[in-house]
């Protein structure tokens, strides 16, 4: 006989309350804003799905979304292979292991706004170390405050500098978990270095790489602080990514309705892409 009682609910209740107050209720407030219009004084008018239609049809949103996808695509295509390559060339044992690990972890320990500020000062054309060097020593015309291309190069470089370490550390963890016997067997089987990578290292890193790509996708897709501090979305709107645009609409223009609708769409896109990616990557394991 299985006894059933409802006592377990009491144990779950505190968590439910906590989640309700820090996630569900704020989220529902956003949903609430997204279907209403207000002119202040806490007076709201029902608006239906108008804000969603407006956002989905707006060129401004399309442009920001395009920039966001481009940014995420570029940093993934640089950080993932680079991270794997660095992890592969790191020592597996000995004195240099902790040294490498600490050096790798350092950029990730720096607060995001500090990273933005550092790179801002570093790349300013007349006073920044890099900016001055490029402009006045090498004679390359580089000004991330004026030139959209330079601004893009700078935010991409900054993100690669800040976050490749995450991919490195995760890949490295995957690599060191491969037993020596695999490498020995591959040697005896006459496998080339490429075969060892393709048939041993890459498959064994698959799980951690899935996590690394997922984390980097979500983080970079929601990125705000660093590009905001570095370029403020400029020059013009050239580095205005989705979150920067969202904050401009919500807090700059105080259009709460459209901003709420936009943030829900934004959230849905992040969720959808993550889900699709995860499903595709883990499909093989279930068979």
């Amino acid at each position: 006989m299985k006894t059933e009682n409802q006592k377990a609910w009491f144990f779950v209740l505190p968590v439910l309350l906590l989640v309700a107050f820090n996630a569900l209720i704020p989220m529902m407030t956003v949903v609430n804003y997204s279907v209403q219009e207000t002119f202040g004084d806490n007076i709201f008018f029902w608006q239906g799905l108008d804000w969603f239609q407006q956002i989905l049809r707006s060129d401004r949103f399309h442009a920001a979304l395009g920039r966001q996808f481009l940014f995420t695509f570029l940093i993934l295509i640089i950080e993932i292979p680079l991270g794997i390559a660095i992890a592969l060339s790191m020592p597996r044992k000995g004195f240099w292991v902790p040294v490498c690990l600490v050096l790798m972890a350092l950029p990730m320990l720096i607060p995001w706004n500090v990273v933005g500020a550092m790179w801002n000062i570093f790349t300013l054309p007349d006073i920044g170390l890099l900016g001055y060097f490029l402009n006045h020593v090498l004679g390359i015309n580089y000004d991330m405050t004026q030139d959209p291309l330079a601004a893009w190069v700078t935010i991409i470089t900054m993100d690669v500098w800040h976050w490749t370490s995450l991919v490195v550390l995760l890949s490295y963890a995957g690599l060191v978990s491969i037993p020596d016997a695999y490498y020995q067997a591959a040697k005896i089987d006459g496998a080339s270095n490429w075969s060892v990578f393709r048939f041993i290292q890459l498959p064994k890193m698959k799980t951690v790489l899935t996590i690394a790509i997922l984390l980097r996708f979500m983080d970079s897709f929601n990125i705000y602080t660093e590009p905001f501090v570095l370029t403020g979305g400029g020059p013009g709107n050239s580095t205005t990514l989705l979150s920067i645009d969202l904050v401009k609409i919500a807090l700059g223009q105080f259009d709460l309705g459209p901003a709420a609708a936009m943030s829900l769409i934004y959230f849905a896109i992040t969720l959808l892409v993550s889900w699709l990616f995860y499903t595709v990557m883990t499909k093989d394991d279930q068979n």
Binding site: Y182, A185, I188, G190, A191, S195
Partner: protein, 361 residues
């Protein structure tokens, strides 16, 4: 296939070995004949895996040479020695099918697909994995994975030697027996030299024609399973092989007669040379019987292990095991133990010192 010669081989993991204890392998001279089934038997840490890795080329010995058919291969990397090795844990390439796994060593060596197909199918049939050829190797059970690892070792028809490094460790007990007999059968079919490393005496004795027993980096005896059982050359072999192992009893020599306490014990034959040092009598429990005359002892423990009964006795403060059939005496009874003379040996400083008596005409 080739004859393998180990000549004056020594290995140390320390950079500057000074004393003999710095060596994981003490000097080893060995010949492995072509097509033989060998086992390397010894407890964990005795150096057997070190020796195996030296033969396969994963490790370069500090001193000495390895010859394949008289040719020095000491400095050659594993892929140029044409050897195969099966590891303790099954190594399979997860993303490949079973077929591709088996074909991998041949493809890496640039053989044509026609020939690869022929070999893979033949090996798959031998291992009884033909029905799995198209499935992904990742989903297989551990014993099938280990079969695939073995298959990759056997798929090249010209390997000098196939080495097994405790290959049955992760296999379920009821499948161990099956795989072990499969290996024996494979050896008879492919006729390659095989070296099987294990710490399990049953595995070694059932697989090999010749067993090399190692202890603390030293080869203590090489012989057929029967020789190892009947005439252990070293007390370690006596201990290690057999269940329970050989009784080793301290004794002293007086006028060519061995005295255990105050009891004279008849030995199998004359002593070789004039022994000085620690002297011990060795007798297997199988050859100790309980009778009305002989060494007085007290029964301390009786365990029925099924086929026979192990009787643990105490005499002169020493424990002596006897294996008997039929009725066992009660615990605490005073008995007399009889040692079969032709199986009673004397060890001096752990090495066998008696030689078998010629049968008198």
């Amino acid at each position: 296939m080739a004859k393998i010669t180990l000549s004056k081989l020594r290995h140390s993991y320390a950079p500057n070995p000074q004393s003999p204890s710095d060596y994981a392998l003490k000097e080893i001279d060995l010949d492995w004949t072509d097509g033989g089934a060998y086992a390397l038997l010894g407890p964990s840490g005795c150096g057997k895996s070190t020796l195996l890795n030296i033969i396969s080329g994963l490790l370069v010995p500090s001193e000495g040479q390895i010859l394949f058919d008289g040719q020095d291969v000491t400095a050659l990397p594993p892929d140029q020695r044409n050897i195969a090795q099966v590891f303790q844990f099954p190594v399979i390439y997860d993303t490949m099918t079973v077929y591709d796994n088996l074909a991998f060593p041949l493809r890496n060596r640039g053989r044509d697909e026609e020939m690869i197909r022929e070999r893979v199918l033949a090996i798959a049939e031998m291992l009884e994995v033909t029905d799995m050829l198209t499935t992904r190797a990742a989903g297989l059970s551990p014993d099938n994975k280990q079969k695939i690892s073995m298959g990759r070792g056997l798929v090249r028809e010209d390997v000098n030697v196939v080495m097994f490094d405790e290959p049955l460790t992760v296999i379920d007990p009821h499948l161990k027996w099956k795989l072990r007999s499969k290996l024996k059968e494979l050896h008879q079919r492919v006729k390659a030299t095989m070296i099987y490393v294990t710490h399990d005496q049953t595995e070694a004795l059932t697989f090999a024609d010749q067993v090399v027993v190692m202890q603390q980096g030293e080869v203590v005896q090489i012989g057929s399973p029967v020789e190892l059982f009947e005439r252990p050359a070293h007390t370690f072999v006596g201990h290690f092989i057999g269940s329970p192992g050989m009784n080793i009893l301290p004794c002293r020599l007086q006028g060519g007669i061995a005295l255990f306490g105050d009891q004279p014990i008849a030995l199998e034959g004359p002593l070789q040379g004039n022994p000085t040092g620690k002297t011990e009598i060795g007798i297997r429990p199988e050859f100790v019987s309980i009778s009305s005359t002989g060494l007085p002892a007290t029964v301390t423990k009786v365990s029925d292990v099924g086929r026979h009964i192990v009787v643990e006795c105490e005499a002169q403060g020493q424990r002596i095991n006897a294996i008997i059939e039929g009725q066992a005496p009660e615990r605490g009874t005073a008995v007399h133990l009889n040692f079969r003379q032709d199986q009673t040996r004397l060890y001096v400083d752990d090495w066998l010192a008696t030689s078998a008596q010629e049968v008198a005409a």
